[in-house]
Amino acid sequence: MIHSLFLINHSGDIFLEKHWKSVISRSVCDYFFEVKEKAVDPENVPPVLQTPHHYLISIYRGKLFFLSVVQTEVPPLFVIEFLHRVADTFQDYFGECSEGVIKDNLVTVYELLEEMLDNGFPLATESNVLKEMIRPPNILRSVVNTLTGGSNVGDTLPTGQLSNVPWRRAGVKYTNNEAYFDVVEEIDAILDKSGTTVFAEIQGVVEACVRLTGMPDLTLSFMNPRLLDDMSFHPCVRFKRWESERVLSFIPPDGNFTLMTYHVSSQNLVAIPVYVKQNINFFETGSCGRLDITIGPKQNMGKTVEGLMVTIHMPKVVLSANLTATQGNYTYDLTTKVLVWDIGKLNPQKLPNLRGSLSMQAGAPKPEENPSLNIDLKIQQLAISGLKVSRLDMYGEKYKPFKGVKYLTKAGKFQRLSLSFL
């Protein structure tokens, strides 16, 4: 299926290649570079390309292209999903997925790739299985290894691959047994010029960090599971129990994992936590414009809005911005034309405001579209949909684990449009 993989950095250097079948010359990437040149922005490169003898399927992540070469029919999502899984694994192992880190750990990376595919077909993609075979690097171990000549490759062979619980390794032991769950919700919203909601929905994810000894069998139940409309589960979740009882029953993988992602049913009204008053004008003459933005709290269930940030992609003709912010700092990047206003905590008594003038290229026509605002925010200890975990039970083991649940609301793709209609 997957024939070869090339890792390509932002400037177009191939810095790693791996072939699972016969070797394919790296000149195959030239087709890709051609398209990349044309696309200007790396995000605009189509993920699937056809060349005379091969098909190129690529993803762009962390300023890197993961380019895989396939020769025959294969579901493209299969390859894309796998490539993302590779990137996730790197992230998991090295803390980030960047060129520098991959180059520093070239051998580990190569060993990982070797285990993840056999003849182009995924073999071991579960992080728990991989970690048993190839230990992630850490400082202490690398010091010890250089002194003793030890290695990062596990000498016991993983049992996970054989069991029917491949996501969990055997013989897990902890002195402190803990299970933490983070319910993180993101609001995706588009507001129109007048501030009315064009589109809003809530997407949530339950991230778990489980460090429990042995083979615990957990059951997580919600106070109001009816809110959940559509979800996808980690393979460990027993679907049948969810269908019949609306509880999540599972033997957890060891460590961090995503238990489920969900979508809150669209019947529920989505609370929009802040309102934005904005006024951006470009004048027909004098090549300048005025900007005035105020943000205030709306429906935030009495919690503080934090990490508030406004990003505006200005039209190309805007040369500079001369603004004053009553709270926080703003920066205007001249090359990318992005205005970022980092506000921080929202104080309902004193609403943050940003105003001032924009100067434009002399003689250039006034931009016809006012730029839209992207808003970023965080609300701790609140799941905006109102979802609540009611209890976590553990079966199969005797000890009492420490349990914790955290809630967080974030802005996902939160856009405030400023448009005038035809």
């Binding site: 016969s22 070797v23 605009n44 189509p46 993920p47 699937v48 098909y55 993803i59 762009y60 020769q71 029919e73 579901p75 493209p76 999502l77 894309i80 796998f82 070239l106 051998v107 190569y110 060993e111 070797e114 056999d118 003849n119 077909f121 995924p122 073999l123 993609t125 000549g149 290695s151 490759v153 062979l157 049992t159 691959q161 054989l162 069991s163 029917n164 619980v165 491949p166 055997a170 064009v198 589109f199 929905e201 409309d229 979800m231 996808s232 589960f233 980690h234 393979p235 027993r238 049948k240 033997i251 995503t258 992602t261 979508h263 039209p315 016809e368 579209e369 793709k413 856009q415 448009l419």
Partner: protein, 978 residues
Amino acid sequence: MDVGFSSLRSEAVGAVRTAMVSAENLQLTLKAELSQEEQALTHIRSNPKEAHKAGNEDLKEMLESSKESLKLEAMKRIVGLIAKGKNASELFPAVVKNVASKNIELKKLVYVYLVRYAEEQQDLALLSISTFQRALKDPNQFIRASALRVLSSIRVPIIVPIMMLAIKEAAADLSPYVRKTSAHAIQKLFSLDADQKEQLIEVIEKLLKDKSTLVAGSVVMAFEEVCPDRIDLIHKNYRKLCNLLVDVEEWGQVVIISMLTRYARTQFTSPWKEGAMFDENNEKAFYESDSEEKKGHTEEKPYIMDPDHRLLLRNTKPLLQSRNTAVVMSVAQLYWHLAPKHEVSIVTKSLVRLLRSHREVQYIVLQNIATMSIQRKGMFEPFMKSFYVRSTDATHIKTLKLEILTNLANEANISTILREFQTYVKSQDKAFAAATIQAIGRCATNISEVTDTCLNGLVLLLSNRDETVVAESVVVIKKLLQTQPTQHSEIIKHMAKLFDNITVPMARASILWLIGEYCERVPKIAPDVLRKMAKSFTAEEDIVKLQTVNLAAKLYLTNSKQTKLLTQYILNLGKYDQNYDIRDRTRFIRQLIVPSEKSGALNKYARRILLAPKPAPVLESSFKDRDRFQLGTLSHSLNSKATGYQELSDWPAVAPDQSVRNVEIIEASGSDSEEESSESEKTSSDSGKSSSGSEQSSSESELEQKKKKKTKKVPQKKSKPTAADRYSEIPAVCWSLRASFFFPVTTSSFGPVKTYELLHHMTGKGLAAKYHFPRQPCLYQPSMVAVQVILSNSSDHSLEEIHIGDRSPASLSIHCFNTIERLEPEASVTVSMGIDFSDSTQAANFQLCTKEDQFSVSIQPAVGELLMPSSMTEQDFCKEQGKLQGMNETSATITMETANASSQAISKQVLSVANVGVVSSSQNNFSRFAGRTVSSGALVLVSLELKESSTALLTINTEKTVMASMLLRDIKQALTQA
């Protein structure tokens, strides 16, 4: 230099010597090649060209050293070289002798190197083979597997026979992990030497029968690669694959689902009703098969879905909740291609969910949605807002979303969509704005109500400042005007006015064409435009020139008085143009319109030729007809057939024989459980752990059952060893729980199965029939009770055409077995059928027919067989029991045989009478059982409270009071006698 070379040479020779030592037990044949190799090496080394590669010399020294850490360091650097795509092949001899190293990491790195360069250094690579051959016999399954993995990755044609042998052995290995590796190796060998196909197919056939979830995905992958056309190999494994699917790892699921999609399209008839879009065979699709047709006269519904078809749909549905986007997509395409039209929409929500994923995932999913939304607007219309474009989307995502929004547009939502489009037109991404204008044009043609609105909007856009927007609008307006030109002379006039300001050639050309085509509606403006064009003709782009010539010709025909001179001027200019297209066109037009002696008959028709009414262009989606490719495939994504694409066949008009998928379970399961349990013993001894996997833990229970089986020597039927069976016994094991959702209930009874006589061979003129209740959920219809009939022929001639004839009462619904064409003397065959007893013990009477005779037989079920076990917790049990008090409760006090007093004994006795499930109980003196009636699904709760001196209170709670009393009697009898 000379000194350097000689030392090099001696080193190389030394390397080979060491390699020879390490390869002591190589076959004799290899020995000869070794000496050749030695020579070859010496030659290579004496080649001066190699001198500059001395940079790798230190690596070589490190590899030769006796210190493991140095070797490891060297290998790490070498792998680094490989990763960067640098050549490290000259180190081959030094590396390969470390293949037998004890250090695992070193060994693994050597493997990496070996696989990369073996193809280039074939002879040297042979040195390593013996190491792998030895490892293939290792007691540790992981070592066996990894040896096979590397061995099969070495692309050296000489070792094909060795690989073949290794694959065959590994395919019969006790460890499923090794068998999985062998499935992978099949593909590798096939790509190395396609001549081995026949032998490999045999191995695939064998591995397809494997019941391990570990193997399933890999072997289907091998099947797809080696022999995708051998659909016949799948028949017997079809149901097993369907049932295993949810437990297979996610990558295997994708492969299996796409293979089963293809399979189903060849084996089942179309579930799409008449009038469906691409169902040409719907007339014939009404009948499931010929034999069905004969008996099907009582059926009301013309189409009955094959139970196997339903099984596939049912078992793939939960996978829509998978976290793996490829799995979700493959289920979605399966439903699209196989499910009845009204069921397809269940995939919508999941597909929309995928749009939250990475950009690349969105791209593929949107492409597929675009294809779907053309045929099925309704599926995605409720989710329209999910396709709204965001300014941060990549261009290709935006275009796809636009495509989908256009497909979804209808009379009801068009105003919303148009409003959305209006904002897109203003986007800073001008390519996208242009695409939006195209989309508006499509909406306008598709929905006649809004044509005028769209047209007006587009005309407003003509005064836009951006040129691409204006140009695109002109092109679209041109197309729209063609559909209804009469009312729009105003717009044409407006465009003519704008003409001077528009510089984009395509737009200018479009305006010229419009004016020419409708010149009679703008009689004053047209000549004026032509005049302007004559002035600027030489400076225009080719496409504009062509249209100028056209305009001139048309005007000449309609208004020659004003334009004769202008036309001639333009034709003269065109005659000497640099572009030959324009010169040709000019000559052609001149001959056509200007009357002269030479111009013949065509001249008379010039007007009809040039001003013929032209059909309006159809604005349609580029995704139309994309569904000729299977959704989710690479071919679909590229819209062209990719190498190795397997066509999805049309539904067959008449379903092929369904019985090919029937499996004779008795023999298969017997031998299999034997193998599996011994295998799991091995697994546990291998890993030295007892509780990590369910395979191990389940082995105990299986062994127990086996013991039971052996001691009793009862011809017992065990249901397929799927996970569901193990559920109630090892609730802690996760996958069995997951698997259990195929079966609405779990079978926990393994008590002896009673066999009843259906037809004695004396009365049946040699045909004898026995039946028993396998206590499995009936495949054909959930309300039926599964019955297995063993037909045997004790006569001395073969019996033909054994089938089921008339039945009474007539309303009785029976799912018959397929006609048995021929039953040889002394042969017997097991068939399964389903009978809907409607929760009564009334006998089902029917006729068992052969070619010559008919025998009336009847099946009278014991009341306990009309139940299905139901799994519930103790609390649920008590809760349900509380609801079924009073009239619905029947109880009796019984005195039990002392041997029966233990709870195990009670379970055994109760389960022998009734097909119920054991409810785990926290109280010792209580035994509880729960079941549901097969037909109506009414709860039947049995509880037994042990009192002192072997008396007990037996209570049955159910709405079906008649059944309750019969069941009470049966259980009482079983517990008191025994």
